[in-house]
């Protein structure tokens, strides 16, 4: 550890009295994702679900469809449902377990804790894409050996879109968690709101147009294709602004001001 301290207000600067760097806080938050039973099992479940999807493909898909892309893409959706829960838990468990008291006593600049948490869940989301790719690769190797197509070709844009999809998912969850600061409430709100949106959008004709811009389930759909138009990116951006950026900012403000008891 380096001990060079800028001569600030403190008359005596002792080693270790420097602000903890964000990278260290992020490492701590990553550790917190895995060092509880709930967090560890959530991550294991995510891995198992992806593996299960690949296995199902190997058993039931016609040989000609046993390609790398076909192993990779279907695993994204179930993982994308679980990642927001990870995002929610990483934020809300501080309040439900009351660890916010110790966390914010050690790092009173709360925004730094939040940024570290967001960085940690984004890294987890990217890791999930790598895991999906690795499992798809295993599936492809097995398919190749057992008479399936075993084709490796994949468009680079598909991998990029998958990364955007998973990062958006985990941050959507984090935003809901940050705004509501309550685990069950955040999970229910996260799961119910998009469904409500889709139903309302289909039932009420005039709202259908708006849903095309605001229903994140619909705007994220094109991410499963290799080509996305500028208009589709625009719609995705608008829906994420409403469901991701706004809750994140409002939640950040709420967390900064909240009394920790």
């Amino acid at each position: 550890m380096t001990t060079i301290t800028a001569p600030e207000v403190a008359p005596v600067a002792r080693p270790g009295e420097r602000r903890p760097p964000l990278a260290r806080l992020t490492a701590v938050e990553l550790r917190k994702l895995v060092n509880t039973r709930a967090g560890r099992w959530l991550l294991i479940t995510i891995g198992l679900v992806a593996a299960l999807i690949v296995t199902i493909q190997l058993v039931y898909a016609p040989d000609s469809e046993q390609t790398f892309v076909n192993f990779f893409m279907p695993s994204l959706l179930p993982v994308g449902v679980l990642l927001p829960v990870l995002g929610i838990l990483s934020i809300t468990s501080e309040w439900s377990q009351r660890t916010a008291l110790t966390t914010f006593a050690l790092v009173p600049r709360r925004e730094r804790v939040i940024v570290a948490k967001l960085a940690a869940v984004v890294l987890a989301a990217l890791a999930s894409v790598l895991a999906s790719l690795a499992l798809a690769a295993v599936g492809t190797l097995i398919a190749d050996a057992t008479g399936g197509a075993g084709t490796w070709r994949i468009e680079g844009s598909l991998i990029l879109h998958a990364a955007v999809f998973q990062v958006a998912n985990v941050l959507l969850g984090a935003g809901f968690g940050l705004l509501l600061l309550h685990t069950p409430l955040a999970i229910v709100a996260y799961l119910v709101l998009p469904i409500a949106w889709s139903m309302v959008g289909q039932l009420v004709r005039p709202l259908d147009g708006a849903a095309g811009w605001l229903d994140s389930t619909r705007t994220m759909d094109p991410l499963f294709t290799a080509e996305m138009t500028a208009a589709q990116w625009g719609r995705l951006g608008v829906s994420l602004l409403v469901w991701l950026v706004v809750p994140l900012l409002a939640g950040l403000l709420r967390t900064l001001r909240r009394e920790v008891a």
């Binding site: 270790g16 260290r24 050690l106 009394e259």
Partner: protein, 313 residues
């Protein structure tokens, strides 16, 4: 060193802390005494930057807590022993804190030893800990960053007599080596044995503070007048040490001196009597009684975990 200056905290119309000021010097243990709901925890949370004060400010080591670059290395904080993730092991809870502060991992083991949590206990999840074990873990957490200041809220809660004795020794030793300790309690006897100074709070206000010996020895006089300000002025002019009590002024002088001072200033008294042989103890009991009746009245509106502490008493 802790400096608290005119801290006020209001929740709507309810005032939890009203104009609280005190200092804690290096090398001393300050006992922060008061009945449940007197404002001890709120004051301590304000010191630690967790609760924003309505007005006033507090500094630790010359700086507001939130401006300390790496607070854990300066102040060890134990505000609630139960504020640990129940699914983490004791060792892991400390390891997370050590990583945050940038403290050598070896210190985790050392602190676990220091507070008497053995290897078996350290491997267990906090969920399975008794309150006493949680307090020990919390103390290890507070000591982890090798701080110069300790802020501990009711650290003796849940400790057995042997544990309380051990903790006193630890805090005494910490202060004797130049550290500053602020610890709260709702039991006078609990802090009497270890504190050098006492700050007594009741109904959100400081009702007495000073060296333990003088506070406990002084019989003092309780005096009241309709014109409280004039009385205060008269006593100040007479050079008598005055502190604000809940239902009058507490003067560390005999009744004669107080009566003379009031008469000289032409202040009509409504009450003049010895504060009672028990001195501080008497004061403390009357505070506790007042707080209990107030608690009974407002119990409906209180939402925090105070009842569990009541039960422990």
């Amino acid at each position: 060193m802790i400096a608290v200056n005119q801290l006020i905290k209001r929740y709507g119309r309810h005032t939890a802390v009203e104009d609280v000021s005190f200092h804690c010097e290096p090398g001393t243990v300050t006992g922060f005494l008061g009945p449940n709901g007197a404002g001890k925890s709120t004051t301590m949370r304000m010191i630690c930057g967790l609760t924003p004060p309505t007005s006033g400010h507090a500094t630790v080591d010359g700086r507001p807590y939130r401006q300390l670059p790496n607070p854990g290395r300066t102040v060890g904080v134990l505000l609630d022993a139960s504020a640990q993730h129940s699914g983490r092991t004791g060792r892991e809870a400390l390891a997370v804190a050590a990583a945050t502060m940038g403290v050598d991992r070896r210190r985790v083991g050392e602190m676990l030893d220091r507070v008497g949590l053995d290897a078996v206990a350290a491997r267990r999840r906090v969920r399975a800990y008794s309150l006493g074990m949680r307090q020990r873990l919390g103390l290890a957490h507070a000591l982890l960053g090798n701080p110069r200041v300790l802020v501990l809220d009711e650290p003796a809660n849940g400790l057995d007599p042997e544990g309380i004795f051990w903790m006193r020794g630890l805090l005494r030793d910490f202060a004797d080596r130049g550290g500053t300790v602020l610890l709260s309690s709702h039991l006078l006897r609990e802090v009497e044995a270890v504190a050098d100074r006492l700050v007594v709070i009741g109904g959100g206000r400081i009702v007495a503070q000073g060296g333990k010996d003088e506070l406990l020895a002084g019989d003092g006089t309780l005096v009241r007048a309709r014109d409280r300000v004039a009385l205060r002025g008269a006593l100040d002019r007479a050079g008598l040490p005055v502190s604000e009590g809940t239902d009058g002024l507490l003067v560390r002088a005999d009744t004669e001196a107080v009566g003379q001072a009031a008469a000289a200033a032409g202040v009509a008294l409504t009450e003049l009597r010895p504060a009672g042989g028990g001195g501080l103890e008497q004061l403390f009991l009357s505070l506790t009684a007042a707080a209990d009746s107030a608690t009974a009245n407002t119990a409906q509106t209180r939402t925090n975990a105070e009842p569990t502490r009541e039960a422990l008493r």
